[in-house]
């Protein structure tokens, strides 16, 4: 048997199953978090797509960065991201993760999320409507099925670049697993 063919088929099955059961970490980081309760409850129901909330990082697949990140929160987000198990996905929510957004000249918020942790998908808006969030989730599921959502592999490969960017902003970051 050709091993490569067999492992590809297994990976397809795993992707098919994973995209149908995603757990999102319930961490409201910025002002975009006010549009999460309408998405999670009965009007714009998101559990019909198989997405539900999880309480701890060890048990979650998706980390949703809802809005801007101050430097104090960035340190906690890096700890949280490193505690999640592979495979894991990150979604940037709102225009503050893309280029700094409304607080572009503030001394305390970061300007691009991409430099510190790898991002799979961005949702533009200030703030995005619940329908836009659901469309973002559907695109993420397509990416998982075709095997393109590989931000976590990039983090492991280019760890030194990410570490250098993080320490430029935060000083020293103590890693504890």
């Amino acid at each position: 048997m050709n091993n490569k063919y067999e492992s590809n088929k297994w990976q397809e099955v795993i992707n098919w199953v994973q995209k149908r059961s995603l757990f999102m970490l319930h961490y409201c980081t910025g002002c975009g978090a006010i549009e999460l309760p309408p998405t999670m409850t009965s009007r714009y129901d998101m559990s019909r797509f198989g997405i539900g909330p999880a309480a701890t990082p060890r048990q979650a697949d998706i980390l949703l960065i809802t809005g801007y990140l101050s430097t104090k929160t960035l340190r906690r987000v890096i700890y949280t991201y490193e505690q999640m198990q592979d495979p894991k996905f990150v979604m940037g929510f709102g225009s503050c993760t893309i280029n700094g957004g409304m607080y572009w000249d503030s001394y305390n918020t970061i300007k691009q999320l991409d430099k510190y942790i790898p991002v799979d998908l961005y949702i533009a808006g200030c703030m995005p409507r619940p329908e836009a969030i659901l469309e973002g989730f559907l695109k993420l599921k397509e990416k998982i099925e075709t095997g393109n959502a590989d931000g976590y592999k990039k983090y492991n490969k280019e760890y030194e670049t990410y570490k250098k960017n993080q320490e430029k902003v935060l000083g020293e970051v103590k890693r504890r697993q």
Binding site: H26, G30, I34
Partner: protein
């Protein structure tokens, strides 16, 4: 039985029970909190410095992002302080429209807060109902102003544009539906529920002298027996032309505060009906010239209004130029979120810490700015 060990717990920023991104570090023994310390600053964006770098009109879309649950109060206080220093008088129809928007914002903030309080004790049905009912009010806001959450509708000189009669009729229909169909269901599920009553009575008690010495205002102060409301003490917009009562309570625990929020929803419905039925015709905004070159003489003002949680104030200093010289934001929950955690939380049980935080109305973006 020996004494239990003193253990540290981080009721930290990543927690479903905390109202926002905010941490409390406390020590507990057995089941009771012994000493606590706040850990704010995760939401700090440097608003006061950003406001000094932008012209007067450019701060209007920035200012509404300070308090996320109820953004209209920030726009209102900023516009009021600009008009107070410049001694500008706005048209009557604009004052009525501003009051309608503020009362609708108060109703949706109270409904969301009641839902959040029920989520803290485990009554998840009421949380879903609360978020859903609030969504219908956000539909009205979207029809008037164009945005669900951030409206950018109230600005110095009046409001941005007029409301049509069709929308005013929709507001009245929604209020009828709220009063006759939805609030009785909330009453049966939450307020006549013996388990919720047992959980909320005599929990998170705040007595009158503590409240006055801390500088607490709003439902938390009215639940101890005093009838202080900024809408009656220093009337603004169209509140001196309507007739309403200010409900009070006696015991000062979480149960009284939640009942007060429900009573205030009914009073707000009464206010909006009077405003819609008596609204005068006329212009909705003054023409103050080129918006990018707004100027007011040098001066200062401390202006405050009544938000759904209490007194909300701005201190604005102008030096006669194109940009503000200094803007200082006084959020409602600054005394409780910072000093109240040190003095009022010890003695509470660990499972009551989310109930304490939600029922006193702590909103972290207000004091982090």
């Amino acid at each position: 039985m020996g004494k239990s060990k003193r253990t540290e717990m981080f009721f930290g920023p990543n927690h479903p029970g905390v109202p926002g991104n905010y941490g409390i570090n406390y020590f507990y023994e057995g089941d009771t909190v012994v000493s606590a310390e706040p850990n704010p600053g995760h939401l700090h964006r440097g608003f006061e410095k950003l406001m000094e770098e932008r012209e007067w009109i450019k701060n209007t879309p920035l200012v509404c992002r300070i308090c996320v649950m109820e953004p209209d109060i920030n726009e209102m206080v900023y516009a009021m302080s600009f008009e107070a220093i410049g001694e500008i008088k706005i048209p009557k129809r604009a004052a009525y429209i501003r009051s309608i928007i503020l009362e609708l914002a108060r109703i949706q903030a109270h409904i969301f807060s009641i839902g959040g309080n029920c989520g803290a004790i485990g009554l998840y049905t009421a949380m879903q109902w609360g978020v859903l009912t609030r969504d219908y009010i956000l539909d009205i806001f979207e029809e008037i102003t164009g945005g669900r959450v951030y409206h950018i509708y109230i600005r110095p000189g009046g409001v941005r544009h007029d409301i049509e009669d069709v929308t005013l009729q929709k507001i009245l229909d929604l209020l009828n539906d709220l009063e006759n169909n939805r609030m009785p269901e909330f009453q049966k599920l939450i307020f006549e529920n013996p388990i919720a009553q047992k959980r909320w009575k005599n929990t998170a008690v705040l007595n009158q002298e503590d409240a006055l010495s801390l500088g607490v205002t709003g439902p938390a102060l009215r639940a101890t027996g005093l009838e202080h409301d900024v809408r009656k003490l220093m009337p603004y917009a169209a509140y001196d032309q309507v007739d309403f009562k200010v409900p009070t309570g006696e015991d000062g625990d979480a149960w009284t505060r939640l009942k007060l929020k429900k009573d205030e929803i009914f009073q707000s419905i009464k206010i909006i009906r009077q405003l819609v039925n008596n609204i005068p015709a006329g212009p909705v905004s003054l023409n103050l010239g080129n918006a990018l070159k707004y100027k007011i003489p040098a001066g200062e003002a401390y202006v405050k209004i009544e938000s759904s949680r209490g007194e909300y104030g701005y201190y604005v200093v102008s030096d006669g130029g194109l940009k503000p010289y200094r803007v200082h934001v006084r959020g409602t929950s600054t005394p409780l979120g910072l000093y109240g955690v040190e003095t009022l939380l010890p003695g509470c049980r660990i499972e009551d810490v989310p109930v304490w935080a939600h029922s006193l109305g702590i909103c972290p973006p207000e004091f982090d700015r």
